[in-house]
Amino acid sequence: MTKVLILGATSPIARALALRFASDGARLYLAARDGDEVRRVAEDVSVRAGATALSGTFDASDFASHDEFIRHAAGQLGGLDGVVVCFGTLGDEDAAQTDPGAALATINQNFTGAVSLITLAARHLEQQLSGFIIVIGSVAGERGRARNYVYGSAKGALAIFAQGLRGRLAASGVHVMTVKLGTVDTRMTWGREGALLTIAPAKAADLIYAAYRRRAEVVYTPWFWRFIMGAIRLIPESRFKRLSF
């Protein structure tokens, strides 16, 4: 039985992904900041999949607690075969532009917290010479945009971190997958103008799960974002900086 830790499990995408794993017989530990919410998600996955999912809380920015947390989760699961990193937040982009505290909070929630937790989990997996790490990134990490560059820089850094980790763990047989997610119909995009090409969370989870099953390494979700971002990267900086999106 695959033992999987899902971090940031209360997001709609993580919730749908948890159900895919559980329906395939995985044993899950779902973790998020809000204890009552993550318990509800775990109950939901348990009822729908007909197998108990465990749950607990963690705080991405409380680095000192991470070692103990990973040990605890692995202990509860009776081992650890995979980690899915789904947490992250757009944060308050307006505040992040002028307030270093807000900017750093966004970086910690999306990048440094993930680095700390992934590094600890990777130790487990490296020792047992198997397992996987799925990192949910964002196409916002492909190029800095005036509107959300703090979030974007954290997601971009996370993708580079995952890329290097993939190289280091290749010899150990640990699979590291980076997901570059386009716009998904969640709280993050609700009410935003022009959220075109948006897909449902369940659809995103299906695509991510299918990519995991075929051991993809870097995957744009859905696929067409590879071409959209390819085109966006080609826009000269002098022109890009004047674009308002």
């Binding site: 709609p12 900041r33 109950e43 009822v47 920015s61 409380d62 308050d92 709280r187 009410g191």
Partner: protein, 462 residues
């Protein structure tokens, strides 16, 4: 570093145009869609402007609209919390739909105890509208199988309501059209079934008397019954119908090929109506032709049939966006009920009026009801007739004249389908309104929960 500001729990709204399933009327609102309980709490308590909860948006008229005010969409709060296979009791959040219940529990031998004619409704909406199904004569409404629910009232406080605890608020919320608060989670008793099939009959009835007689006979034997009724028929054939009756098939009643996998059904392709049909697509002649062909297809007076649950319960769900067949102008559903001793006369009167007016109803449904207990519940013992009319000139005046006929015989109109009833007629049709208003005022003294429907009907006097 770990502190969370109040503003982070407050989700952003989407400002958009909104309609019910009938696509009439149109409204404009700030729509919130919380993904966590704390976000819902923030929306409910944020300010004193009017708010109404919305589920899947399958009420036909303006029940889940709140023009120029706030709407909170509950579809993301749809977590199943526990299920006991010994008792069949499910605890879940109110955004769970009937379709989800079937997907998760039918393979385990459980079915929703009551289902309306579409499975794409939420349980919260089903309680608020006190929805009924084809088994109402025997099993009452869906809410009758709800043992308790948690209601978030205007103060943000969450109250557990059942027939014992906060009993008056329970009775005011069942059928209360979302005006007492937001239903968060509930406990529902699922029905055990042996198969995904129904064992039943199609019974042809040549006129309204034959249809009523067939219902009276069928209802003792069959748990589920409903009739399609031809509104275009006249004279001696007035009210000719095809009754569809059934019970969940036990294993011994299934043919061998189905008995091998009794709880599985073959997934079907669901066609869509890809665009709005032009206004003339449904007219007097096409409706008449459709109804004549449908009736003629059921030649035998009674034919034993095995139905799969989808075809039996949800014939229209198989065509997604079927509401588009009426075109952009939309349509109005009209469902009314008469007490038992007035049912026959009421049916004849209304069917004759429709026939005379030449306003064909494409889909007309006849059903016998049993008892009901919510303060504003629509069902009452007697016969109910459901009709739909394309939105055309003179329709609203015509339906006003039907209201008068229904009211005169002690009948009433279903609010979940309504978009046009007058406040005066509504008050006369719902005798428990004052009791309901008292319970509503106790839970929501500042009238924070209101909707386009509640304002139109003057349900909550300021």
């Amino acid at each position: 570093m770990t502190e969370r500001s109040e503003s982070s729990a407050m989700p952003k709204p989407r400002h958009a145009l909104l309609t019910g399933w009938g696509r009439y009327p149109l409204s404009e609102s700030d729509i919130y869609r919380p993904e966590k309980i704390a976000e819902l709490h923030a929306v409910v308590t944020a300010d004193a402007t009017s708010l109404i909860a919305r589920g899947a948006g399958r009420a036909y008229g303006d029940a889940a609209l709140n023009d120029q005010n706030r709407v909170v969409d509950l579809t993301r709060l749809n977590r199943m919390l526990s299920f006991d296979a010994d008792t069949g009791i499910l605890r879940c959040e109110a955004g769970v739909t009937i379709a989800e219940l079937i997907d998760v529990f039918l393979p385990r031998g459980f079915f929703p105890p009551v289902t309306p004619g579409t499975r794409f409704v939420t349980l919260g909406g089903s309680i608020a509208a006190d929805v009924h199904g084809k088994n109402h004569h025997r099993d009452s409404s869906l809410a009758s199988h709800v043992t308790s629910f948690d209601l978030m009232i205007a103060s943000g406080e969450v109250l557990r309501c059942s027939r014992e605890e906060n009993a008056e608020l329970f009775r005011a919320t069942v059928g209360g059209m979302g005006l007492t608060g937001v239903i968060l989670e509930l406990e529902l008793r699922m029905r055990r079934v042996e198969s995904a099939y129904l064992d039943g009959e199609l019974i042809r009835a040549g006129n309204i008397d034959a249809a009523i007689e067939a219902f009276e006979r069928a209802d003792a034997e069959w748990g589920y019954s409903v009739a399609w009724i031809d509104c275009a028929s006249r004279m001696g054939a007035l009210g000719r119908s095809v009754l569809n009756v059934g019970n969940f098939a036990t294993l011994d009643r299934l043919p061998r090929n189905l008995a091998q996998n009794p709880l599985g059904t073959i997934p079907r392709l669901s066609p869509m109506v890809p665009f709005d049909l032009p206004g003339f697509a449904l007219n007097r002649l096409t409706v008449k032709a459709f109804n004549a062909v449908y009736y003629a297809l059921h030649r035998q007076t009674a034919a034993h049939t095995i139905f799969d649950y989808e075809g039996f319960f949800y014939p229209l769900d198989s065509i997604r966006n079927w509401n588009r067949i009426y075109g952009k102008r939309g349509f109005v559903q009209y469902q009314c009920v008469w007490p038992p001793d007035e049912s026959r006369a009421g049916l004849v009167e209304v069917l004759e009026a429709i026939s005379r007016s030449g306003r064909g109803s494409f889909l007309a449904v006849l059903k016998k009801f049993g008892a009901q207990d919510g303060l504003l519940s629509f069902p009452m013992p007697g016969y109910t007739l459901a009709l739909d009319f394309p939105m055309t000139e003179g329709l609203l005046e015509f339906l006003d004249s039907i209201d008068a006929m229904v009211l005169k015989r002690g009948g009433r109109v279903y609010l979940a389908k309504d978009a046009r009833l007058s406040a005066e007629t509504f008050r006369a049709m719902y005798p428990n309104l004052a009791k309901w208003q008292a319970a509503k005022a106790a839970a929501d003294p500042d009238n924070r929960f209101s909707s386009s429907l509640s304002r139109r009907l003057g349900m909550c006097p300021a």
